[in-house]
């Protein structure tokens, strides 16, 4: 195992741990193992990337944090009061680091498995806990360091060494604030909710974080265009509630030599609150934390928290079942709804894409309008244009979620499809697609449309209808040309492998559709004829896709088995299956 810088630094403080009765040698060993595992864990916001075997995921994520930090560090340059700029930068740092803690670190903070491994060994609890705390600290400081270093460099370059000193002090307090507030937050959550609910909440945090990251990227360059800053700052009461305000105030006092009592009050808050939290944590939280952690292992079925919710959904899906009849479609419709609603990793990928599908057209609208100068001018330009055509971006993003339907954390459970007496696998796909379109795709599309309807009024209703039809057509085409893996039967890598080519096809299709659409409206033609054609195509392709019998679903499993054997064998085997399929097809023809 290789050495870590963090560990080497730690070695200098060995005496401290020995004094605290911690077995330093063992603690270091545990810590080293944890850091090795970290390198292999892919952080939440990078999950869409394909981690190469042997690459250092943690270091890559730090590079990304540093890159983000470099973007935010640019805030230092515009000629605004430092208080505003630091608010922005520290706010972003606080946000990213906190969400990273919640997202990626929940697994560490809330790990109960490690205890099962470590506690039976002759290691005392103190050593294990010391390793845990240090692990969290190393992680936290690595991220903070990565993200704040650009600001530190740029800021000291512009404002001198004083800036660097203030920033370093503030970063330490911020780290304390983050670690204690997340711990207290977890403590509260654990206190009120049981394991599964807590996992759900963590899941939503992760989704929120991913969405926020996407938006932040988009907004970072435009933030100064959007907000107008007053040169003289007048504090409002709610400013006292913002942590970024507390931590920014000292910069005004010490770097810009601003005097103003509110800066002093803010600074005091930024100093006192982390210390208060420290005491709160060690007095009220830490002694009980481990005990509460055991809750994570308890089956929630007994308490009924999740159960009731699921029951309600059961009634909802029953109504859908009534609509679809007691057909197999209906069975798979309900199955798909239940699966997507409860599959956390899938949601973590799906929801941000859905959110982005709503946001994307508006990002383009804003960047097109930013030349307008004033808000009213921009709005007039918006109203006169055909900006609703940006909804084709929404369409592309939405259709891009279709491959996700075949992925799941529990993809190994897909054996069940093969032992079930399903005459025609089409029912599986049809039910699943209907559920996915009805529950996720159309509502999200509708949400994006409502905003444009607000601007353009009902006159764009036919356009929205046409675009919806294009969306459906696109989904059918994407589905048809995919390998048609069964729903929830693939590892998440599946999306990654297919993503690029699908994306290109999607944008090509959307581009052409948008072109035709734009051509028709700019010439003043009635688009309803075109809509009629697309509608007919949707109906025909839907019928056609589901009337041709899908290649026997059983062929898939063999490929899975083949993975275990060496590659050459696999190729041989695939060739034989192909020739077999051809033989079968010949038999059918005869």
């Amino acid at each position: 195992m290789k050495g870590f810088i963090g560990l080497k630094i730690l070695d200098r403080f060995k005496f401290l741990f020995t004094k605290l009765d911690v077995d330093y040698r063992i603690m270091r060993k545990i810590l080293q193992l944890k850091l090795v595992m970290d390198e292999r864990r892919v952080p939440t916001f990078m999950m869409n990337d394909h981690p190469k075997e042997g690459s250092n995921a943690f270091r890559n994520s730090l590079m990304l944090y540093a890159f983000m930090g470099a973007l935010f560090a640019m805030f230092i340059f515009p000629p605004f009061p430092l208080f505003y700029k630091m608010n922005m930068i520290l706010g972003v740092i606080l946000f990213i680091v906190t969400t990273a803690m919640i997202g990626d670190y929940s697994s560490v903070l809330l790990d109960v498995k490690e205890k099962n491994i470590l506690l039976p060994k002759p290691i005392d609890v103190k050593t294990i806990n010391a390793a845990k705390v240090l692990h969290v600290l190393i992680y936290l400081f690595s991220i903070i360091l990565a993200i704040a270093t650009p600001t530190l460099l740029v800021g000291s370059f512009k404002y001198g060494v004083g800036f660097a000193v203030v920033l370093i002090v503030q970063l330490v307090f911020m780290a304390g604030f983050i670690i204690f507030s997340t711990s207290i937050l977890y403590f509260a959550l654990l206190h009120f909710f049981d394991g599964e609910k807590l996992k759900d909440i963590i899941n939503y945090f992760q989704i929120l974080m991913t969405v926020a990251m996407i938006i932040l990227y988009q907004l970072v360059g435009r933030v100064f265009e959007i907000f107008n800053f007053d040169v003289v700052y007048t504090p409002k009461w709610w400013n006292y509630l913002l942590p970024s305000v507390w931590f920014s105030a000292p910069f005004s006092i010490f770097v810009e030599n601003q005097v103003g009592m509110h800066y002093v009050y803010f600074s005091i808050l930024g100093f006192v609150i982390p210390i208060m939290m420290l005491f709160l944590y060690f007095k009220a939280v830490a002694p009980y934390f481990e005990g509460l952690l055991q809750k994570l292992n308890i089956s929630s079925g007994k308490t009924g928290g999740v159960g009731k919710k699921q029951w309600r959904e059961g009634i909802g899906s029953r109504i859908a079942g009534k609509l679809l009849g007691e057909s197999m479609d209906g069975v798979f419709y309900r199955f798909t709804l239940n699966m997507v609603a409860s599959e956390r990793t899938l949601k973590l990928k799906l929801y941000p894409t859905l959110a982005f599908a709503i946001i994307l057209p508006f990002i383009f609208v804003f960047s097109s309008l930013s030349s307008a100068g004033s808000v009213t001018g921009g709005y007039r330009q918006l109203k006169e244009g055909n900006f609703y055509l940006y909804l084709y971006f929404t369409i592309s993003m939405l259709a891009n979620t279709i491959p996700m339907l075949s992925t799941s954390e529990g993809n190994k459970a897909a054996w069940i499809y093969h032992i079930l007496p399903i005459e025609n696998p089409n029912v599986i796909y049809r039910g699943a697609l209907k559920a996915f379109i009805g529950k996720y795709i159309l509502p999200v599309y509708g949400a994006a449309c409502i905003i444009f309807l607000g601007v353009y009024g009902l006159r764009i209703l036919p356009d929205i209808f046409l675009m919806m039809l294009n969306l459906l057509l696109l989904i059918i085409i994407i589905f048809h040309y995919s390998k048609k893996p069964l729903p929830f039967s693939q590892d998440f890598q599946y999306i990654k492998h297919n993503n690029m080519s699908i994306m290109l096809q999607l944008f090509a299709f959307s581009g052409v559709s948008a072109g035709i659409h734009w051509f028709l409206i700019s010439r003043g033609y009635n688009i309803l004829v075109y809509a009629g054609v697309v509608l007919a195509m949707v109906i025909i392709t839907w019928k056609k896709v589901f009337s041709t019998k899908v290649v026997d679903i059983r062929t898939e499993i063999r490929e899975e088995n083949g993975d275990k054997k060496d590659k050459k064998d696999k190729i041989d085997k695939e060739e034989t299956t192909e020739s077999e399929n051809i033989d079968k097809a010949k038999e059918k023809l005869e």
């Binding site: 079925g301 699966m339 088995n561």
Partner: protein, 262 residues
């Protein structure tokens, strides 16, 4: 009696290979209604491959497989509606609740929702896990998951059952219930394939034992028949003898001396 000799499964010269590795080298087997078959063999002997072929999970085999008199490679999937399966690895869509999973399985088997729900609740009650009906399967203990898999495999009242280590994780009381269920099912004319590495259990519950070694059937008969043929006292010893494994004592000795640092 005549009825009980009714043939439910016929395998003729079944061969299967993954690439160059041959897993099954010509299996011939005839199975009748009401039989409990202990299907045993060393790791990699080809047990799971056989079961996967019978279940229709693997379909590029050579040879003939008839279930309920139908050739499974020619006929559709209808026969699957009369089969129940508990796989060895408890892979399951465990983000669903028990109720959602059972309802899904039952409905695919063609039961109506009300029947499935009534049945699953009743069966879970009998296995004393009914309080977990609305819980996510991921929060279940190993035993609870196993019980759920057993219920899912039986919910549609199948005629042939494939159990692969079905007792893993079950407590002693549940094991007794389950063994009794097996006996009852066999009396009701169901055919049961019971695959396990625990020889004592196989010896007790099966009325026919099939031992697979290197893709071939090396023994087939009742426990008594096997005993007289091989002059060994227990199924475990018969297993050792027939699979040609005699070195267990030497290996064990070496293992222990290694940890003792000799």
């Amino acid at each position: 009696m005549e009825n009980n000799r009714q043939q439910v499964l016929l395998i003729k010269d079944l061969r299967m290979s993954y690439g160059e590795k041959t897993v099954l080298k010509g299996i011939n087997l005839e199975v009748h209604k009401g039989e409990i078959i202990g299907y045993i063999g060393a790791n990699g002997a080809g047990k799971s491959t056989t079961v996967k072929i019978l279940l229709g999970i693997i379909n590029d085999f050579q040879g003939e497989v008839h279930i309920f008199g139908e050739d499974i490679s020619k006929n559709g999937v209808g026969y699957k509606g009369r089969i129940g399966y508990v796989p060895e690895t408890a892979e399951i869509f465990d983000n669903l609740t028990a109720r959602e999973y059972l309802t899904f399985i039952g409905e695919v088997y063609g039961l109506d929702q009300e029947t499935v729900e009534k049945r699953s609740l009743k069966l879970m009650e009998l296995f004393s896990i009914s309080e977990a009906l609305h819980g996510r399967i991921s929060s279940f203990s190993k035993g609870m998951k196993q019980k759920l898999l057993i219920i899912a495999s039986l919910i549609h009242n199948p005629d042939i059952l494939f159990f692969d280590e079905p007792l893993s994780g079950l407590d002693a009381n549940s094991v007794m219930i389950f063994k009794e269920i097996l006996a009852e099912l066999a009396r009701a004319g169901k055919t049961i394939f019971y695959s396990s590495h625990i020889m004592e259990v196989v010896e007790k519950i099966s009325n026919r034992i099939i031992l697979l070694n290197n893709g071939e059937i090396v023994a087939d008969g009742t426990f008594e028949e096997l005993k007289t043929k091989s002059f060994e006292g227990s199924l475990e010893e018969i297993f050792n003898q027939l699979t040609g494994f005699k070195k267990y004592k030497e290996i064990a000795d070496e293992f222990v001396s290694t940890i003792q640092g000799v």
